[in-house]
């Protein structure tokens, strides 16, 4: 447990009367790329700011590379590279100067890697930061982080504002980090990015963890869409529990969703009705997230889900 790169358990943080984090859990093992997901305002950035020692937590257990993120902040920062979601630069300094500042004050900077990253991200380091677009400001922070020798990378929506070409440069760079056994915590809204980079994801909502596991595991928890044509009337299927969105176009043809947990039972029943044709569609990642992001979704039974994943 203690050798996790990030270990958060029962983290609470309030701002006045607002409870930003409410019993949040997050564990990232060394060498892992953890996707950190949640709707806007769910507490992702607050969690990251606690990890960076910028905020003091109210309750719970937080360890970062075996240290305390508040007490050991300075020592830890030499081993961590951090890219904030909103990169604000000094307008009169050049991008190159700021890269050096972030890098040299922080986790170090390898001149060769620096030059290479500037090249790959196609950044002009002689321009004053005031002339940079949002994407270019993001590149400055990314180059500084990626050109260093950190063990842990904490990236808070690092690619917001990047064009698709730069997005792929970023993904390549993260894959190289993985090859080097680095650990990455990646908060992102770009699902394709998460899908292609992350071994594991943690989804939070309203300050607490609602889901954690591999993408395959998470997929398993959701519903499969089924379109079926049967020899006998299909209506009895609608009566089964765990079947939803049942829509029969005629007596022998229907579309419906079924939770993957209940799939064997439903298939058994369908077989009894005589399947003439069947088409099934696994849940898209989008649907997976939408299910968790929706604020007023009573259908979600968090505990049942937790039971199953074994959290």
């Amino acid at each position: 447990m203690t050798d996790a790169a990030i270990h958060i358990e029962g983290l609470d943080k309030s701002f006045g009367a607002t409870k930003a984090l409410d019993g949040l859990n997050l564990v990232v093992e060394p060498g892992q790329v953890m996707g950190f997901l949640g709707p806007n305002g769910s507490g992702k950035s607050t969690t990251i700011r606690v990890l960076m020692g910028l905020l003091r937590h109210d309750a719970g257990h937080v360890r970062l590379l075996g240290g305390d993120p508040w007490v050991d902040a300075v020592a830890l920062h030499r081993r961590i590279a951090y890219v904030p979601g909103d990169v604000n630069l000094w307008p009169t300094m050049t991008g190159g100067e700021i890269i050096d500042l972030y890098g040299r004050l922080g986790s170090g900077l390898d001149p060769k890697r620096r030059a290479e990253m500037i090249e790959r991200f196609d950044l002009d380091p002689t321009k004053k930061a005031r002339t940079y677009s949002k994407g270019n400001r993001q590149k400055v922070a990314l180059v500084a982080a990626l050109a260093g020798s950190a063990d842990l990378f904490i990236l808070d929506e690092p690619t917001s504002g990047l064009d698709p070409l730069m997005e792929s440069v970023f993904q390549d760079a993260v894959r190289e980090l993985v090859a080097d056994d680095k650990t990455v915590l990646l908060s992102s809204h770009i699902l394709a990015e998460v899908e292609s980079l992350c071994d594991q994801v943690t989804i939070i909502r309203e300050g607490h963890t609602v889901e954690t596991g591999t993408l395959a595991e998470l997929r398993h928890l959701t519903e499969t869409k089924i379109e079926v044509t049967t020899t006998q009337p299909v209506a009895p299927i609608a009566e089964l529990s765990n079947v939803s969105a049942f829509n029969a176009s005629d007596t022998n043809h229907a579309t419906f969703s079924v939770t993957n947990k209940a799939l064997p039972i439903v298939m058994e029943q369908l077989a009894a009705l005589g399947i003439k044709g069947i088409f099934s569609q696994p849940p898209t990642l989008e649907e997976l997230f939408m299910r968790h992001y929706a604020i007023d979704d009573d259908a979600i039974d968090d505990e049942a889900i937790d039971d199953e994943v074994g959290v």
């Binding site: 910028l54 604000n88 050049t94 190159g96 100067e97 050096d100 500042l101």
Partner: protein, 542 residues
């Protein structure tokens, strides 16, 4: 044409909403300063007249003889026009300094609602939402016109309520309002020229300082120089004496011309850019930048340098008139007699002038120190502190670097002002005999600046939102220093201001207790601020 001003009304309401606290505070404060002058002066004069068994007008005339020889007062307040009348005396007491404060209100108002908004990107949203290119300028201009009209009307009402004729009262009110608008219009131009809100504000403040300084020299010398300054124009109207009307026209022309220039310039630049173009910079950071102190210096050096230059200009301005003052007194036998009658030596008058000017420099320098102390607050506000504090820089070394610069800036500021004053005086007189004592006298005020630094860093360390309190403390000190006597503030209140205890040289010797207490307050505040800052949450960018 119509489209260029589309949405002005909406923007004006937005300004009203964003400024619902700051502008009313300014207007209330200024209104109070203006209103309290007749109230207290008439009371003081009546009491003095009764004690001597003369009419209040005769008492005024007596005071006038003294005031006319007082270079320090004239330099601060303006030409002693008709100061043997109540109206003239009120106008004199309200003075050039109040004109400058009104200018400050206008500059900050314009800066707040133009470039500062642009820099945060809000203007782009507003402008893309069917708002004309000139609407932003128009809206802030209307806001400035309303604010200055309010001050003009209030002044007129206060003077009229005191029993003065309505015509001259209104004329004086108008002179305040129009001078204020000149500075608002100037700020509008600078806002277009400079790429940066801070640079535009700095240039506008320098314009106020220049306007104030030039007329100070002109007024002390009794020369035409006063007529180069908008404040000089406004004060040349002399509503309670030999009234002239042409300055009103000059003020109006200046306002219209500057406003027209701003409108013309806005079309020539892109939103967010200035008219002064960019050059590429270094691709790599110099080693000197790569430390918390190096970064703090890089961020503060321009501001600190400009403050030092401004203070040197202020010192040189007044330094150049010290010898004029001697001549003025020596040539005027009636004045010499009057001085003798009141038991004042010409040397004491000269030292009094220097003492007052050095204290004013200390007051202005305190503003610079507070701005420097609050720089970390700006870094936290904009989110630029966060990556640095996440990059192996401890809270203490980050904040401590900024505070160290503020501490060093205090003596540097005072030396800049004092040395420039000494050099200017020496240049006129042809000898450096007073130079050393001037430098020492300016240094005796440094602990007052440190006290501000202490208060500011303690408040900032405790919570970002509290740090504004140091400006309130500064406002109170300005009030005590400039208007303490006129307002008849209680002694204990006047004693709260560090400047009260640290502004005696060269007129009187400076004791050791006050500097030590002020230094102690400064250092304790800084240590407390550092400790508190290390324990609190860093706030998210606003």
């Amino acid at each position: 044409m119509n489209n260029s001003f589309a949405g002005t009304g909406t923007l004006l309401r937005l300004i009203g909403r964003l400024d619902r606290i700051k502008l009313p505070m300014w207007l209330l404060g200024l209104g109070f300063l203006i209103a309290i002058t007749p109230l207290s002066l008439r009371g003081i004069t009546n009491a003095e007249a009764e004690a001597q068994g003369i009419t209040p007008e005769a008492a005024l005339a007596q005071q006038a003889t003294l005031l006319e020889t007082n270079g320090a007062t004239i330099a601060l307040q303006g030409p002693p026009n008709a100061i043997d009348t109540f109206g003239g005396r009120y106008a004199f007491e309200i003075g050039a300094f109040t004109f400058a404060i009104i200018g400050l209100m206008n500059v900050l108002l314009v800066a707040r609602h133009t470039r500062a908004e642009e820099e945060t990107g809000r203007t782009e949203m507003v402008r893309s939402a069917s708002v004309g290119a000139w609407s932003s300028i128009a809206a802030v201009s209307i806001a400035a016109i309303l604010a200055n009209a309010f001050l003009a009307a209030l002044t007129t009402a206060v003077f009229a309520a005191d029993g003065l004729a309505i015509g001259p009262s209104a004329l004086f009110g108008a002179s305040l309002g129009l001078a204020g608008l000149v500075f608002a219009a100037t700020a509008l131009v600078f806002v277009q020229v400079f790429e940066y809100g801070r640079a535009a504000t700095g240039a506008s403040l320098a314009a106020i300082g220049l306007a104030f300084g030039i007329r100070a020299i002109g007024d002390v010398q009794g020369s035409w120089l006063s007529l180069v300054s908008p404040i000089g124009w406004a004060q040349a109207i002399d509503p309670f004496g030999d009234t002239v009307y042409w300055p009103l026209l000059v003020l109006l022309i200046a306002i219209v011309a500057s406003f027209g220039l701003a409108i013309a310039l806005v079309l020539r630049r892109d939103v967010g850019a200035g008219l002064i173009a960019q050059r590429p910079g270094p691709a790599e950071a110099a080693p000197s930048l790569l430390s918390p102190l190096g970064l703090a210096w890089r961020l503060q050096r321009n501001t600190l340098t400009w403050w030092a230059i401004g203070l040197a200009a202020l010192g040189a301005t007044y330094g150049s008139v010290i010898s004029t003052l001697d001549d003025l007194i020596a040539e005027n036998e009636a004045m010499l007699e009057a001085l003798e009658q009141f038991g004042i030596s010409p040397d004491a008058l000269r030292d009094g002038f220097i003492t007052f000017i050095l204290s004013m420099i200390a007051l202005v320098a305190s503003g610079g120190i507070i701005q420097s102390i609050l720089r970390p607050r700006g870094e936290e506000n904009t989110g630029r502190a966060e990556p640095i504090l996440s990059a192996g820089v401890s809270r203490r070394s980050w904040l401590g670097s900024h505070l160290l610069l503020s501490l060093i800036a205090a003596p540097a500021f005072m030396l800049a002002g004092g040395a420039a004053m000494g050099v200017a005086d020496a240049a006129v007189v042809g000898s450096f005999t007073d130079f050393g004592s001037l430098l020492w006298a300016s240094l005796t005020r440094v602990p007052a600046l440190w006290a501000f630094a202490g208060v500011g860093s303690l408040l900032y360390g405790l919570a970002k939102r509290l740090s504004f309190g140091v400006w309130i403390a500064f406002g109170i000190v300005v009030l005590v220093f400039m208007f303490g006597e006129v307002l008849q503030l209680p002694d204990w209140f006047i004693d709260l201001s560090p400047l009260t205890h640290l502004t005696n040289t060269p007129l009187d010797a400076q004791g050791w207790v006050a500097p030590m207490v002020a230094t102690l307050i400064g250092m304790a505040g800084i240590v407390g601020g550092l400790l508190a800052f290390s324990q609190r949450d860093l706030e998210s960018p606003t």
